[in-house]
C-alpha cells in the first residue's frame, strides 16, 4: 500500500559528497491513477528522515471513475497550482487550486486528454496541450487559459498528439513536441498563433514556417497509427529513424530548444534564431521529459523505458551520469530553483506506488525518495521547476 502513514520512506545515500539539504523544498506531484495531488517536503523541516508527505488533495469530479490528473504547474508566485485531468467524457479539464488551503478554486473544460502545462512567467496564462491520446490521429491543439478570469482564451491548432511543452524564459514562445508528427511546434505567445515547426526525423531535420499539416506529411509523422498507444513505452522497431518527440525544453537563455526523442533515444538541440539543428545528444532508453538548470549547465532527462535519469553537461553534450531509479516508468522532472536537486516522478507498474525521487545534482546520486499515489506524473517544485528560467 503506497500510503501506510503520514511519514514516507526515505533513503539517504551515504555516498561521498552527498549532503543533506540545508533548506526545505516543497514538491507537488500528480498521481493519475488515483486522482491525487501529493505535497512533499524535502529538507530539514521534514524531520530526521528529510522527506515528509504533508498531505494529499483529491482532484476531479467523478468519485468512482478516475479523472486522471496528468500535468501540474505552479503559478510564479506559488499562490496557486494548476492541474490537468485527462480522462474526461470525452474532454478533460484544467483545475485551479489554492496552494495554501488546497481548495479547488475552479475548473475549465479543455480538449481531449489535456496533458502537460505551464503558467506563463507573468502569471497571466496557462498553456496546456490537448494530447488527444485516445482519439483519432488528427491535429490537436494547445489551450491557452487566462488565470484571472479563469477562462480559456484561445485554442491553437498545432499538430498530432502535442505532448511535452514549455515556454521560453521570456514567455514569448511556447514549444510543444508533436509525438505523432515527429516535429516540435513553436507558438508566438504575442499573436497566439503557430510561428514555426521543426521536423525531427533523423536525416530529414529541418525548420519550417507555419504548422505541420498532420500525420503523413512527407518527412514527418509516424506511419503506424497504433504506435501512440504505448505512449513512450514501446521501443522502436528495427530501422525506425523517427524521433517520437515527447518533450520540448527551452534552454536557460532561450537560445536553444532541447527535444527529447523517445524512440531515437537522443535529444535534438535546435538553434532558435536560425531554426536549425545544432546537434543530437545521446540519452538513455526512452528519454521522455527534460529540464535544465538555471545556470545553463545541466540538462536532465528522464528515461522512461530505461528506468534511469540522464544528467548531461550542455556545453559538451556529455552524459555525466545515468542515475538508476527505484521503480519503472520514469516520468517527470522538476529542478529546484537553486539548481541543487532534481525531483523525479516515477509512475510504477500496476499496484506499486508512484515515487518521487530526489537526485543531488552535485554528486549525481539519489538521496531520498517518497512513495506517493500510483502513476505519478506531473511534478513541480516551489521556487523552481516550471516557474524557473526567468
Amino acid at each position: 500500500m503506497w500510503f501506510r502513514s503520514a511519514l514516507a520512506l526515505a533513503l539517504v545515500a551515504s555516498t561521498a559528497g552527498a549532503q543533506a539539504p540545508d533548506r526545505d523544498y516543497t514538491v507537488l506531484v500528480a498521481s493519475e491513477a488515483v486522482d491525487l495531488i501529493t505535497r512533499i517536503t524535502f529538507g530539514p523541516g521534514a524531520g530526521p528522515t528529510l522527506v515528509k508527505v504533508e498531505g494529499t488533495t483529491k482532484v476531479g469530479i467523478n468519485p468512482v471513475d478516475p479523472d486522471g490528473p496528468h500535468g501540474l504547474g505552479l503559478s510564479p508566485n506559488a499562490q496557486q497550482y494548476y492541474v490537468s485531468t485527462a480522462h474526461g467524457v470525452p474532454y478533460g479539464y484544467l483545475w485551479k487550486i489554492d496552494a495554501k488551503t488546497n481548495e479547488v478554486l475552479g475548473n475549465v473544460e479543455l480538449g481531449n486528454f489535456p496533458a502537460t502545462l505551464q503558467v506563463s512567467p507573468d502569471g497571466g496564462f496557462v498553456y496546456v496541450v490537448n494530447f488527444n491520446l485516445h482519439g483519432e490521429m488528427v491535429p490537436s491543439d494547445v489551450s491557452v487559459v487566462s488565470t484571472d478570469p479563469f477562462v480559456e482564451v484561445a485554442r491553437i491548432q498545432t499538430c498530432t498528439m502535442p505532448h511535452g511543452s514549455r515556454l521560453n524564459p521570456a514567455g514569448t514562445k511556447h514549444y510543444s513536441a508533436c509525438m505523432m508528427d515527429d516535429a516540435v511546434v513553436e507558438i508566438d505567445t504575442r499573436t497566439l498563433a503557430v510561428a514555426r515547426y521543426f521536423v525531427l526525423k533523423k536525416g530529414s531535420e529541418k525548420g519550417l514556417i507555419g504548422a505541420p499539416r498532420g500525420q503523413g506529411e512527407p518527412g514527418t509523422g509516424n506511419r503506424e497509427p497504433s504506435d501512440h498507444a504505448g505512449h513512450g513505452m514501446s521501443p522502436p522497431k528495427p530501422g525506425d529513424v523517427s524521433c517520437s518527440p515527447t518533450w520540448a525544453q527551452p534552454s536557460a537563455d532561450g537560445r536553444s530548444v532541447f527535444v527529447a526523442c523517445n524512440k531515437a533515444n537522443d535529444i535534438v538541440e535546435i538553434d532558435v534564431a536560425s531554426w536549425t539543428m545544432k546537434r543530437r545528444i545521446p540519452a538513455g532508453d526512452g528519454v521522455y521529459n527534460l529540464a535544465v538548470t538555471r545556470d545553463g549547465k545541466l540538462l536532465v532527462g528522464t528515461n522512461k523505458r530505461g528506468k534511469s535519469v540522464s544528467i548531461i553537461e550542455i556545453a559538451s553534450g556529455k552524459e555525466l551520469a545515468r542515475v538508476p531509479t527505484q521503480r519503472k516508468v520514469v516520468h517527470g522532472v522538476a529542478i529546484s530553483g537553486d539548481d541543487r536537486y532534481a525531483f523525479i516522478s516515477v509512475e510504477g507498474i500496476g499496484s506499486e506506488p508512484g515515487t518521487v525521487e530526489m537526485i543531488d545534482l552535485k554528486t549525481f546520486t539519489r538521496v531520498a525518495s517518497a512513495d506517493v499515489g500510483q502513476m505519478a506524473g506531473g511534478i513541480d517544485v516551489v521556487g523552481g521547476g516550471s516557474q524557473a528560467l526567468r
Partner: protein, 674 residues
Amino acid sequence: MILFSAIVLAALQAQTPGQQASAQLPPSPIAKVVVTPAKPTMVARDTLRLTAQALDARGKPVDSVRFRYVQSSGARFEGRVDTTGLVRSGSTGTIPVTVVALVPGTRPVTEVVEVKMLPGPAASVVIDAAPAKLVVGQQIVLSGTAFSAAGDQRADKLSWKSSAPNVARVANDGRLAALAAGKATITATTGSASGTLAVNVVPNTIASVEIMPATVAARTGDVVHFSITVKDAQGRKIDGLTPSWTFSPGQGMIEQDGGFVGYEARPYTVVATVGNRVAQAAVSLTHRDARRQATVVGRLPRTRFSTEEVWIHPDGKHVYLGSGGGGDVMYAIDVSNPAAPVVTDSVVSNTRRVNDVMTTPDGKFLVFTREGASDRKNGIVICSLEDPAHPKPIAEFTEGVTGGVHSAFIYKQEKFGTHIYLTNDGTGALHVIDINDPYHPKEVAQWKTERPDAGRSLHDIDLRDGLLYASYWNDGLVILDIGNGMKGGSPSNPKLVTQYKYDLNDLYRQVELTGGPGFIRGTHTAWRHKNYVFIADEVFPASGVKGAKDAAAGRAYGRLQVLDVTNIEKPRPVAFYEPEYGGVHNVWVAGDTLYMGAYNAGFRAFDISGDLRGDLRAQEREMVHVHTGDMEGKVQNSPDTWGVVVKDGLAYVNDNANGLWIIRIEPKKPDVVP
C-alpha cells in the same frame, strides 16, 4: 495547513530577487465588452451568430482585439458555440457563453451572456388521448401540447373551440361537456397551429354502469386493471365509452387505461364516471409483506484496494472479484463453503482497475477489463478456467482501446458463436470481439451513437435474445439488434432498434441545487426482464458537503426506472425506484426479485412480480436492505455497495469499500423464491 503555508513562505523568501513574484500582466485597454445581441434568443436547432465590440474607458472601440467565445459550464449537450461566436443549437435550453476579449500581452476581459434556445413557432398541436365517444352529459377535461416544427415542446396556452357547440361545448380551459347527440370537431389552437379531436356524442341511454372487478382484495403494489360495462335500459351493452377514473383516499395512482395501484394497506374506492352515471369499486389492500429477513452467510473483507465487479462461475463454487482505485488484481475465490470464502488465486495484470469480470456461459473462459495500464494499452484479458480456482491468462485484446475498457459482456448465439461486447472509455464506442477462438480474439465491429463527440460515453452493456441494451450515459438507453433479427443485425453489423432518452438534468435538478452545476449523471446500467427494461442512473453531485470529510462528504443519487418495452420501438416509463439515501448502481434479476447494489443505500432487493406501476418503494415492494458497512475494509463503516450476482439462493454482493458479502434472503411462506 499552517506548516504548509510556512514552508511556502520560506521557499519564497529563499528565492533570489530575480525569482520573486513576476511583474503582473498589464491591464487591458478594454473597459467594456458589448455583445450583440445583448440578450440573445434563438430558435432551437437553428444557428445564431454572436458578435462583440470592445470599448475603452471613453467608449471608443479598441483596436487589435481578439475575441473568443467559450461555452461556460452547462448545456453541454444541448448546443455548442464555436470560438468565432457561432451558436449551434441542438435542442431547447440555455447556453452560458463567455466572450473573451484579449489584446495580446494584456489581461483579458470577459462578458457572459446567456443564449436562450427556445422552441420554434408552434407548428402542430397534439391533443392528449381522449375518448372519441361520449354520452350526453359526460364531461371530460381535454389537454394538449403545442410543438414546433422540429418537435420541441412549447408552453403555449391553447385555445379550444368546438365546431358544434350545441353538441359538445368546450371552454377555453379544455373542459368539454357533451350536450347533445351529434358529431363535433374540437380544435385546439395556438397561433397558426392546431390539432383536432373528432368527438361523437351519443344519446345517453345509460341505465347502468358496472365496474369490474367491483370488489378487489389485493396487496399494495398489485396492479388492478379495472374496466366498465355500460348498458342501456334494455340491457344492451353500449361499447366504446371511456370513463374518468379516480380513487380515494390514500396514496397510489390510476391511469386512463384503468390500471390502479395502491401504496397503502387500506380500503380504497375506485370510481368510474361516465356522464351522469358513476360506478364504484371497493378495493381492499393488505400489506404486500414482501419484506424478508436477510442473513449474512459469509464475508471476505478486502482492505488493500476497493473492490469492483463480482461474477460467479456457472459451477456455483467459484467467484471472481475485481479491484479498483489503483488495484491491479482479480481475485479467484472458492465459495463452495459460502460461510468461509477463501481466495484461491489472483491474477495480477498491468492495470490499475479491474472493473468488470465475466465468464463464458460454459465456464471455460473468463474476461476482465483493464483501465489505467502503465503502458496505456488497457483493453481486456482473457483467462482459461480449466481450473476455475486458478484462472490463467491466455490472451488479451488492446487494439484501439487505449482509453480503457470499463465493461465487457460475453454473449453466445448459436448462429454466430461467442463474442465479447466491450465499452471504449476513450471514444464511447461499442467494440465487438470474436472469441470463438479465445486464444486469438479479433474485432469484428464497432458501433457508436451518432452525435458530436462531446458527451458520448458508453458505460455498460446487457444482452438478451440477440438484443443489446447499451447504457449510453447522456444518450440514454440504446437497443441494438446483434442477432435477434428484428432489424437484420448481427455481431459484425449491429443495427439500431430504438433509443430512449430522457431529461437527466430535469430528473436530477435537486442534485444540481445541492452541489452546483456540472454534476455527474447518466444512464449507467440496463437489465431486460420479461417486457420490462430496468435502467439505473449513476448520479453524483458536483461538490460534496463543504467542511465535511471522508464518508460524510459525499453520497450517490440516482433512480431506477422501469420501461415497458411491449412495443420495443417505443419504450414507455411505467415505474421507478429511488432509495431514500444513496443511489442505484448494478442490478441483477432472478425469478421475480431484483437485486441491487445501491451505493450508500447498501444492498437492496425487491419484489418485481406482476405488473409494475408507480413508486415501487412506496408500495412496499422492498424485500431486503442490508447496510454493508463494516469496520473491516478499505473504508470503514461506510457502505458503498457496487453490485450483486445471484446463484442457488445466495446473493454475492460486492461492496466497493470493503469486499464481498454472501447474503441469503430467508424465504417466507408461501415461498417467493428469490
